[in-house]
């Protein structure tokens, strides 16, 4: 029955030849240009100037707290002791660089139409990583789905961009979309919360917003980039009509439907409502959500993220 299983089971996705050309010389040139533009945008800011909210051994006073046995008495506020006979420990903000975590959804829903959405997401993710590395930020990348979860540990330095490329090329892909599981694992792996950019189509009715919210709960600063194929958002361009059997690319039962013009228009409206609901939920929690249509050049998309999304501060 092995042959039957091979026929029936979905073939595992492997990097294709087109992925080899994903980060070619032209892509690198565009990244350089993008980095110059990004530097002009954030001129005047110091390298690794991002600060965590962690209170520690920094120089800038942050707060007081009650003294407890075992505290370093060097941080005891003697002035308060002398005046009030109340032992308080002075707390200082600790200067620490903020890591950037880029999470790319590599589920099957990102691989429709020849994997255009996934390639676009990887290009955007690579561009973000390049700009981050160029700013001496620590950048980590995770390619995840409901089946796979591959992580490139945080790296620093512009020269590591090729490692990022190699990681993206060789990352396993496929499987169902599971935003919540993906975000939960990213949050668990991250010892230090940071800026987490999630690139996905968020085709997960229940788990899309919950996953982002979980990152936020773990002190991450989540930024959602919803990668959309315009044809998927508006199937009327495909001219779908008649009796068809709809099969979800991520598996599940096939569904016989009769597609009329009215039904296709209803799907378009439903897709718009889904996107609007996702955006509304993110906005209410302070999560920036950007829609990235794959027919828009990726560098334009990255610049728009810089301008509007506050990825770099």
């Amino acid at each position: 029955m092995g042959w039957a299983n091979r026929l029936l089971t979905r073939r595992e996705a492997k990097p294709s030849a087109s992925d080899e050309a994903l980060f070619d010389e032209a892509f690198l040139a565009r990244l350089e240009l993008l980095q110059v533009v990004a530097r002009r945008l954030f001129r005047g800011r110091q390298r690794a100037e991002r600060k965590t909210r962690k209170v520690g051994s920094g120089l800038e006073f942050a707060d007081h707290r009650e003294y407890s046995p075992g505290d370093d008495i060097r941080y005891l506020d003697w002035t308060v002791w002398m005046r009030l006979h109340h032992a308080l420990i002075r707390l200082f903000e600790e200067d620490e660089d903020l890591p950037i975590r880029i999470v790319i959804d590599v589920s099957d829903s990102m691989r429709t139409e020849g994997g255009a959405k996934l390639r676009y997401a990887m290009q955007v993710g690579a561009a973000l990583a390049y700009v981050g590395l160029a700013n001496l930020d620590r950048v980590g990348i995770t390619c995840a789905s409901g089946r796979h979860h591959t992580t490139l540990p945080a790296v620093r330095g512009k020269g590591r961009i090729f490692r990022v490329f190699e990681f993206l090329r060789s990352a396993d892909r496929g499987g169902p979309t599971d935003i919540r599981a993906m975000c939960s694992r990213v949050a668990a792996q991250s010892r230090q919360p940071g800026l987490t950019v999630v690139l996905s189509d968020f085709y997960d009715l229940e788990g899309a917003f919950e996953g982002l919210n979980m990152l936020r709960f773990r002190k991450h600063e989540p930024v959602a980039v919803q990668v959309l194929d315009p044809v998927e958002a508006d199937p009327t361009r495909l001219g779908l009509r008649g009796d068809v059997q709809l099969v979800d690319v991520e598996g599940g039962d096939a569904r016989d439907v009769t597609l009329s013009a009215r039904a296709v228009a209803a799907y378009t409206q439903a897709h718009q409502r889904f996107c609007a609901q996702l955006e509304s939920s993110c906005r209410s929690r302070g999560i920036f959500l950007a829609q990235a249509l794959i027919d828009v050049p990726f560098d334009d998309m990255v610049l728009r993220l810089f301008r509007q999304g506050g990825i770099l501060r």
Binding site: D108, D201, L240, Q245, D248, G252, A254, V257, T258, A263
Partner: protein, 661 residues
């Protein structure tokens, strides 16, 4: 309904196989196209809203499948070539002979304004519309002339169309020729049959032909269309000059009641459109009367007799065309008379000169006559030879000739041979009844010498001398009258009988020449003489005939005669096309005046098994119900295939309109 093509036993397996194939294809069509989508959950949410329409969609698919099966069933049905039982009978070749004689213009029973011909047309249409697709029919008109209204065809609409333009004629139906044509048209074809539609008012010849047809080898049916037979007709109408008063005219009219009830009619006579007489007549059934209207002015030439109702109503008496009659009196033309004389017989010249009103006299000497130097001889109507002791010419002219003492010399061109010379002949016997000797007494005439004649059969002996003919008239193309004595050698010129005899001779020749063709009947060809109509025939080779209806036509003229077939009553203008008098014209009256044509009684013998004509209303209803639907006459499978094409088009449109998808 039967199948002329495939049988049911062949059609059922075909339909079953086809239905199975269609069902299989339909099921295959139901395997939907797989469309991979990235987010089926959203599609599910959308399509869940149309779940309530799923039953209707299934029903639509079911209808589509049933539509395909219906198309297959119709195709199988067309392969069977279904036909009504009546179409499967043996083909029939039908010849419809419709009587269009004058009597068919008579009224139909119980339907005012409808003629017998209308009923006959309905009956013929009924027969034509009942033809099957393999049947053929021809429609023949039988009037005074026979014609084909619609050639042999299987299309009832074209046959009926040919029948629609038929109108009643003015003469008798020439059924013998029509039936011969009908039999000839269908005898060689399958299922020959002849249907005669007539009112039965036929002449004996037509009735005999009809009886022969019904008893012949080809089935012959007779459909009678009768009606009221009351009719009053003008059966004769003539006008002439008085023989002895040629400046006066008398008119004879014969009116007959051909119906079964007494009739009272008013006879009106017009001359040159002016009324000249009116008579009120009461006629018993079958009674006829002759009315003479005399002493009319000879200046009038066109006469018209008309029957009218006493109350002034316009309703005709039975047939409308026999209520009117026409007559023409030709103009009076003087005779060209040539007298060949040595000038010593002044009595003869004086007798001819007294007839100056209708004689144009020319005198020629015997020498000129012998040498032929005078053209008047060739143009003369009558030539008198009174040469005395002189000799006659070698040949006689082509004219009426009167010769006195032709055998004085041994050599004579006289066509009547000499028998014997007689000294002092006595005129012992004369034919008092002969018009030449009318009111002439030749008793005790003294004659010095004479000659008797050797006659041949046909010669008319005017006077005998002791049994031997001494005055003879020989008929021919031109008459020759010979007297076996010289008037100079007798005392006859001094008697009153001499000028009277000369006048009788001229009048006899005049009456032979012209002026007594008052009218001709419609129908058959009739030979007419131009001279009879008052038109000089000299040099005329063609005449133009203009009837009361229709365009003018030209007819050839041979020796002053031409053949005319007049089909419409009325006045005809006859004009010379060529000759010295080219363009001059005379008139000719043509009348229906035919006793058989006016008699509306059914005269077909009871031995003919005639068809019963359905009531007129039923015939009309049948015609209306059938309608000119030519497609119905074609094979039914063509209609079935048209339905199939329509269903396929419907399915195509519904499919592409996503109605049955």
């Amino acid at each position: 309904m039967s199948f002329a093509g495939w049988t049911l036993a062949q059609l059922w397996p075909l339909f079953a196989a086809g239905a199975g194939a269609i069902t299989l294809l339909y099921l295959l069509r139901m395997r939907r196209r797989r469309v991979v989508v990235p987010f089926a959950a959203l599609w599910e949410r959308v399509t869940r809203e149309s779940e309530s329409r799923r039953l209707w969609r299934k029903l639509r698919r079911l209808l589509s499948w049933l539509l395909q099966l219906l198309v297959l069933a119709l195709v199988c049905l067309s392969l069977g070539d279904p036909r009504p039982e009546v179409w499967l009978r043996d083909p029939v070749s039908l010849a419809v002979v419709i009587d269009t004689s004058a009597s068919m213009a008579g009224p139909a029973p119980d339907e005012p304004g409808v003629t017998r011909l209308d009923l006959g047309r309905r009956r013929a249409e009924q027969a034509l519309r009942s033809l099957g697709p393999a049947d053929r029919a021809v429609v023949i008109e039988a009037s005074e002339q026979v014609g084909v209204l619609a050639p042999l065809s299987g299309d009832p609409s074209s046959l009926v169309a040919g029948l629609s333009g038929v109108t009643p004629r003015f003469g008798e139906a020439d059924l013998p020729r029509a039936l011969a044509l009908a039999s000839h048209a269908v005898s060689e074809r399958p299922g020959p049959r002849v249907l005669v539609v007539t009112d039965g008012a036929l002449d004996p010849a037509a009735t005999a032909a009809l009886v022969d047809c019904t008893q012949g080898s080809i089935p012959c049916e007779v459909a009678r269309v009768g009606g009221p037979s009351d009719n009053v007709a003008i059966t004769a109408f003539a006008a002439r000059r008085y023989p002895y008063a040629r400046d006066k005219i008398e008119v004879l009219t014969e009116v007959r009641n051909l119906g079964d009830t007494p009739a009272k009619v008013v006879l009106e006579i017009e001359a040159d459109d002016a009324p000249v007489g009116t008579r009120t007549l009461r006629l018993e059934p079958g009674q006829s009367t002759r009315e003479v209207l005399g002493q009319l002015d000879a200046a009038r030439s066109r006469f018209e007799a008309r029957l009218a109702r006493e109350d002034g109503g316009t309703q005709p008496f039975g047939l409308p065309h026999d209520d009117v009659a026409y007559a023409v009196v030709p103009p009076l033309t003087p005779l060209d008379v040539v007298l060949v004389t040595d000038g010593t017989n002044l009595f003869l010249e004086a007798a001819l000169l007294t007839l100056d009103d209708h004689v144009r006299l020319t005198g020629i000497s015997p020498q000129d006559a012998r040498q032929g130097r005078r053209p008047e001889l060739a143009e003369a109507d009558v030539v008198f030879y009174d040469v005395g002791a002189d000799t006659l010419p070698d040949t006689l002219p082509r004219a009426h000739v009167v010769i006195f003492d032709p055998w004085r010399h041994e050599a004579s061109p006289c066509p009547v041979d000499k028998k014997a010379d007689v000294r002092r002949p006595f005129l012992t016997e004369q034919d008092k009844g002969h018009p030449v000797l009318d009111h002439v007494v030749l008793k005790d005439v003294n004659i010095a010498r004479g000659t008797t004649f050797d006659i041949v059969p046909g010669d008319e002996i005017l006077v005998r001398s002791l049994g031997d003919p001494i005055a003879v008239m020989r008929e021919g193309e031109h008459a020759t009258v010979v007297f076996g004595f010289d008037p100079r050698q007798s005392d006859l010129p001094m008697r009153p009988a001499f000028p009277m005899m000369v006048d009788n001779l001229i009048r006899t020749f005049e009456q032979r020449e012209a002026g007594f063709v008052a009218s001709v009947p419609v129908g058959a060809h009739r030979e007419l003489t131009l001279a009879d109509l008052g038109l000089s025939p000299e040099g005329v080779t063609r005449v133009r005939v203009q009837g009361p209806q229709g365009p003018a036509g030209t007819l050839p003229v041979e020796r002053g005669r031409f053949r005319l077939r007049a089909l419409t009553p009325g006045f005809y203008a006859i004009a010379a096309v060529d000759g010295p008098l080219a363009g001059s014209s005379v008139e000719l009256a043509v009348n229906q005046a035919n006793l058989h044509a006016s008699d509306l009684h059914d005269r077909i013998d009871d031995q003919i098994q005639a068809l019963d004509l359905p009531p007129a209303t039923e015939a009309a209803a049948t015609t209306d119900a059938t309608g000119p639907t030519s497609l119905v006459q074609g094979p039914l499978w063509t209609l079935v295939m048209l339905v199939v094409a329509g269903l396929i088009a419907l399915e195509w449109v519904s499919y592409h309109r996503r109605v049955t998808v």
